[in-house]
Each structure stands twice: as structure tokens, then as C-alpha cells.
């Protein structure tokens, strides 16, 4: 007879006696029986807790032993960390380069706009014939200077825009790096899912277990009624004695 059966019988016997005692009005004995019943349940709870602890421990051990996962932990994850640091460095560099180019360009654009506005006003005055010869001579000198300024400032703006363009090169490099890191995360996720599957299948005793090789270590059996599984030490002993032990 298996342990579960004998345990169930213990429960039944006590439960039956409990009903009899309650009906007989013997409350003292009934209380005792209730204590005994909860004692039975507690001892089972501790055994189950022990089994679960063991299952978890073994699942974690297996997780560490998977060569793909240990290489993930030893090499790929530190490597991913370095790669991500490289991404941080590259994007920071790029942001600084871009910001500097923009910050240098804004005053140039402002100056061009301001000086163009000044010269437009003067030019309108000239068109309205409000300008004398002396003022017009000054305007032509100023315009000559301004045109020279436009060439040099627009050249600077063009260089700055090229700098902004070049500063975007990080995306190609960090894109590749991040794709590699995503792969590592994916591998870790697969590993975790596998670990959850291993834990879950042990806890739920999924039917897949039956297809495993006989020598495959399974860890604690959660369901003593499962076929091919011993329920307790007595079953082990009787099996061994049948083998001549």
C-alpha cells in the first residue's frame, strides 16, 4: 500500500471518528481529533515544501550547467555590457558633436539674417531715392563686406551641417551593437523560459516526462501516484528486497 493511501486512510479514520464523537457530544475528544488532523496536514505541508526547495535548487543548478547559458553569463553578458557602454559613449559623442555644430551655426544664421535685414532697409531707401551719394558709397562698401561675410558664414554653416551629418554615423555602429545585445537578451530569455519550463514541468508533472530517457535525472517526484514512481521509502525497500537486497 502506498503512503498516500495510508495517509488518506489516516485522514478518513480520524474524520469518521470525529463525526461519531461530535454526534455523541464528546467535544473534548472531537477537539483532540481536529488537532491530530491538522497535525497530519502540517507534516505533509513540510514535506512538500522540502520537495519544492529541492526542485528549485536543482533547476537553478541545471540552469548554471547549461554550457550555452554559462557562456552567456561568463562572456556574452559582460560583452553585451561593454557593447552597451560603447553605445553610450558613441551616442554621447555624437550628441556633443551635433550640439556644438548647431550652437556654432545659430549665431551665424542670426548674424546673416540681421545684416541682410540692415542692408535690405538701406537698399529700399536707395530705391526710394532717399539716399545721398555719400550714403550710397557707404552702402556699396558695406554690401561688399556683407557679401564676403555671406560667403564665409555660409561656408561655415555648410561645414557645420556636414559635421551634423557625419555625427549620425553612430547609428550604423550602435545599430549593429544593439542588434547583437538584443540577440544576447533573446538567448537569456530562451534560457529563462527553458528554466521555467523545467520547473513548471516538474511541478505540474507534465506528460512529456514519460518520453524522457530512463536514466534522465528527474529530481523529486511530485505525484506519488505517477506510474513507475515509488511513493515512499517502504516502496523503495520492497523494490530492493524483490531484487535480493
Amino acid at each position: 500500500m502506498s503512503a498516500l493511501d495510508s495517509r488518506t486512510q489516516d485522514y478518513l479514520a480520524k474524520a469518521r471518528e470525529l463525526v461519531v464523537q461530535i454526534e455523541a457530544g464528546n467535544t473534548e475528544r472531537a477537539d483532540e481529533l481536529l488537532d491530530e488532523l491538522s497535525g497530519l496536514r502540517e507534516s505533509r505541508l513540510f514535506q512538500d515544501l522540502g520537495k519544492l526547495t529541492r526542485t528549485l535548487h536543482e533547476a537553478i543548478s541545471n540552469f548554471q550547467l547549461d554550457p550555452r547559458l554559462s557562456s552567456l553569463a561568463r562572456e556574452d553578458i559582460p560583452d553585451a555590457r561593454d557593447r552597451l557602454r560603447y553605445v553610450v559613449t558613441k551616442t554621447e559623442e555624437s550628441a556633443n558633436r551635433t550640439l556644438k555644430a548647431v550652437e556654432d551655426s545659430i549665431p551665424l544664421a542670426k548674424r546673416l539674417s540681421q545684416r541682410a535685414t540692415e542692408h535690405q532697409e538701406q537698399w529700399e531707401r536707395f530705391l526710394r531715392r532717399e539716399m545721398d551719394v555719400k550714403e550710397f558709397r557707404m552702402l556699396t562698401h558695406s554690401l561688399r563686406e556683407f557679401l564676403g561675410g555671406i560667403i564665409s558664414d555660409s561656408t561655415s554653416l555648410g561645414k557645420n551641417l556636414s559635421e551634423v551629418l557625419l555625427a549620425q554615423e553612430f547609428q550604423d555602429i550602435t545599430g549593429q551593437v544593439i542588434n547583437r545585445v538584443i540577440q544576447v537578451v533573446q538567448d537569456v530569455e530562451d534560457g529563462l523560459v527553458e528554466m521555467v519550463r523545467v520547473c513548471g514541468s516538474r511541478i505540474q508533472a507534465s506528460p512529456q516526462d514519460d518520453r524522457k530517457a530512463p536514466t534522465m535525472l528527474e529530481g523529486p517526484q511530485i505525484d506519488p501516484k505517477k506510474s513507475g514512481v515509488v511513493a515512499n521509502q517502504d516502496d523503495v525497500d520492497s523494490l530492493l528486497s524483490s531484487l535480493g537486497f
Binding site: 514535506q47 529541492r54 530512463p214 536514466t215 535525472l217 528527474e218
Partner: protein, 132 residues
């Protein structure tokens, strides 16, 4: 049973080693050593006159069953009594362990009394075999 006999306890789970050690202390055994898997246990066994081996089955590196096979294959260790204390509870596993030459098989979770019973039985049988 000689209370001074030297016992090696092998389990990858240090808590379990401590539990077994505590139980054996309770039974009066004090000459105890520990290893965390078959790979660390085997050199210890080869080096140091152990009288009894208590081992887990499922361990990283070398499992308890492989340790048992190695022990049986080694001329000097072949007769060392081995008790498997394991959560592995499939009938075919117990048969496999028996065929590999285990002296006793205790399924976890177990009690102090079970451990004592199995050890008594193992040494009783050894004494009978030695006399006969």
C-alpha cells in the same frame, strides 16, 4: 557499528550536507567529511580510508551514480558501502542503482530513523557476509 568510522557525505546542496551531517552526529558519528559532487569526492575517497559513503544522485559534474560506478570499478574502493540519498524516485532508477552495486537507497525527504535503519541494515549484511 563502529561510531568512529570515517564517513564521506556528498551532496551539491550544502544545506543537505549539513542536514545529513547533523543526523549522523545525532547517531553518534563524528568522523565526517564532505564533498560537493563526484569529481571532488572521488580523489578524497582514493586518498583517505573512508568506511562509508553517503551520496546524493543528481549533482553537477559527476553524479552520485557515476561516483558509485567509479567506486565499484576501483579495486581498493570496490567494497566500500555506499548509501544513495536522493530525490530520484523512479523505479527504473532504483533498479539501475541496485545494478550498479549500491548498498542502500533512501528517498528524500527522509527521517533520521530511516537513515539509521538503512545504515544498520547495510552493516548487518556486511557482517553476515564477512562471517559466512
Amino acid at each position: 557499528m563502529d561510531k568512529n568510522m570515517k564517513i564521506l557525505i556528498v551532496d551539491d546542496f550544502s544545506t543537505m550536507r549539513r542536514i545529513i551531517k547533523g543526523l549522523l552526529h545525532e547517531l553518534g558519528f563524528n568522523n565526517l567529511e564532505e564533498a560537493d559532487d563526484g569529481n571532488t569526492a572521488l580523489p578524497l575517497l582514493k586518498a583517505g580510508n573512508f568506511d562509508f559513503l553517503v551520496t546524493d544522485w543528481n549533482m553537477p559534474g559527476m553524479t552520485g551514480l557515476d561516483l558509485l560506478k567509479n567506486v565499484r570499478a576501483d579495486a581498493r574502493l570496490a567494497k566500500l558501502p555506499v548509501l544513495l540519498v536522493t530525490a530520484e524516485a523512479k523505479r527504473e532508477q532504483i533498479v539501475e542503482a541496485a545494478q550498479a552495486g549500491v548498498n542502500g537507497y533512501v528517498v528524500k525527504p527522509f527521517t533520521a530513523n530511516t537513515l539509521k535503519e538503512k545504515m544498520d541494515k547495510i552493516f548487518e549484511r556486511i557482517a553476515t557476509t564477512a562471517q559466512g
